[in-house]
Symmetry: C2
Subunit: 336 residues, 2 copies
Amino acid sequence: MNAMKGTQSIAFSESPYLVSAGSVAGKKEGEGPLGKYFDIASEDDLFGEKTWELAEGTMQKLACKLALKNAGVQPEEVRYLFGGDLLRQGIATSMGAEELQIPVFGLFGACSTSGEALALAAMTVAAGYGDLVLAATSSHFGSAEKEFRFPLGYANQRPLSSTWTVTGSGAFLVGKKKSRVRISGVTIGKIVDYGLKDSQNMGACMAPAACDTILQNLMDFGRGEKDYDRIITGDLGYVGQSILFDLLRKKGLDIKENHMDCGMTIFDQQTQHTNSGGSGCGCAAITLAAYIMPQLISGEWKRILFVPTGALMSTVSFNEGESVPGIAHGIVLEHC
Amino acid sequence: MNAMKGTQSIAFSESPYLVSAGSVAGKKEGEGPLGKYFDIASEDDLFGEKTWELAEGTMQKLACKLALKNAGVQPEEVRYLFGGDLLRQGIATSMGAEELQIPVFGLFGACSTSGEALALAAMTVAAGYGDLVLAATSSHFGSAEKEFRFPLGYANQRPLSSTWTVTGSGAFLVGKKKSRVRISGVTIGKIVDYGLKDSQNMGACMAPAACDTILQNLMDFGRGEKDYDRIITGDLGYVGQSILFDLLRKKGLDIKENHMDCGMTIFDQQTQHTNSGGSGCGCAAITLAAYIMPQLISGEWKRILFVPTGALMSTVSFNEGESVPGIAHGIVLEHC
């Protein structure tokens, strides 16, 4: 039997596998430190489409098709798709998922959505509701800047605490089909609100949620921080990382040696001018697909905690003066 | 064991129960035909808040608290919350769920979200991932008009095919705790796109998806339309209903006698000037909570198919000339 662990976690008795992944990235991401690992790094951020939204939908569709191809699976063999993005009314996912004709659950968890999708996909497979399930998320610099910030042509200055939305989509096939990586458990996050209101400092808004979920995961599974080869947050960036370290230190925990942040890994801060780091649902997703998964497959890392982090806000909420709470979901991935 | 049925459905071996519900409605809804059934019908559509978004969040929080109270359950006994709304980045759900401090899965399925939330809540309980899980959705006329249409003060004319967004939130406690209503199965919908582009005729955009999910449900469970006392769509309205009847007739199916649409039931079209009917994630949710559930509890209806319908669009997508595809999820509810 699958077991509830502690107050927020689930341990799977027969762990679903991360069967395969597909990663699609934009031009800047292709020029970054992880460039050579992506399945596709496009020279054209419009992906042949006429709008940023269609481009993001196309990325998500491509990522799903790559995940299927990498596992030799046809779309009709996939029972459900869990998908999401950052845009209003999850339009990139709708546009991307439509052609695949797989029954779809639309999700929104800001940049934590890749964790939410993987958790639900694993829960679905482990419960016997489907043998193969897709989890797909995306973000796009063009569509996100338009959604949340300024017209690109306005060329506004970006504070040092700001992050750069990753153009990318990662899709994962989760299933009973054996692979070298299994999802052994999940920890579902609560909304954590420290009252911060700076939408240009999302790392600070999300760090408390990351701290909460990491602590909860360790408590629920009875583990110490050293039981993970890496604890990998989504997109805290340089600013969020230092806050996370401070918060954890107050709880007597030091994860400096085994912490990694996808937002800090995906770009070269110095040469790519990405300030605090990369962000977006695509950031953690393509870093997992292209860089983290291979290390789990090879056994370089035996067990990691993957913690995508999200800042829960809309332009309406922050223009109305509301705070930006955070949420983070934890996924335990193991070499097998 | 829970069983996959056909290509899109799940039959639960130990069906989770719809333990309790909470319904919160606005002023116009309180004056409509279902007014007397809601737990709360507020005279103040702002619910004491200063913005429509906060009002909607407050409604969702109130609905959750009512569902808990109606079952004598404390928030800390609830393992997970599945929630969503129509607003960009699901902000009403974030605002509403924050205070409850229940681990949360954010969803987006437009007006089908109440079906998506109930399906995932039932799947979670039936799999043993939680004994009590909440499913909550909301919509608000004020926040939705601002999000999708015109400033309220502009007083634009509404075409006859348009619908009126319901101000309301319905929350459901799904769990192992016995009640008189069980969720025996679910059918997860695909995105169905007939290429329609009229965001003021959402009934027409969603009817093909409703047709698809109803047919799939009957096929997956080997049932005829008469095996349901009612087949209840979310918010097709008068226009969408007649299209659904036409589409089903072409497939040799006549559901005229046992069809009900929440959007047609919640308002009095003649006196309340709601044109095609009510809509929004709150529409199907509060109709289920306040009107449908009691008929299932009493045994007046033995088995129904609840099919909330969603139109997948954003202001960006329709301003860019994209079509408005639909999605619908089916929930089988039985008296027990």
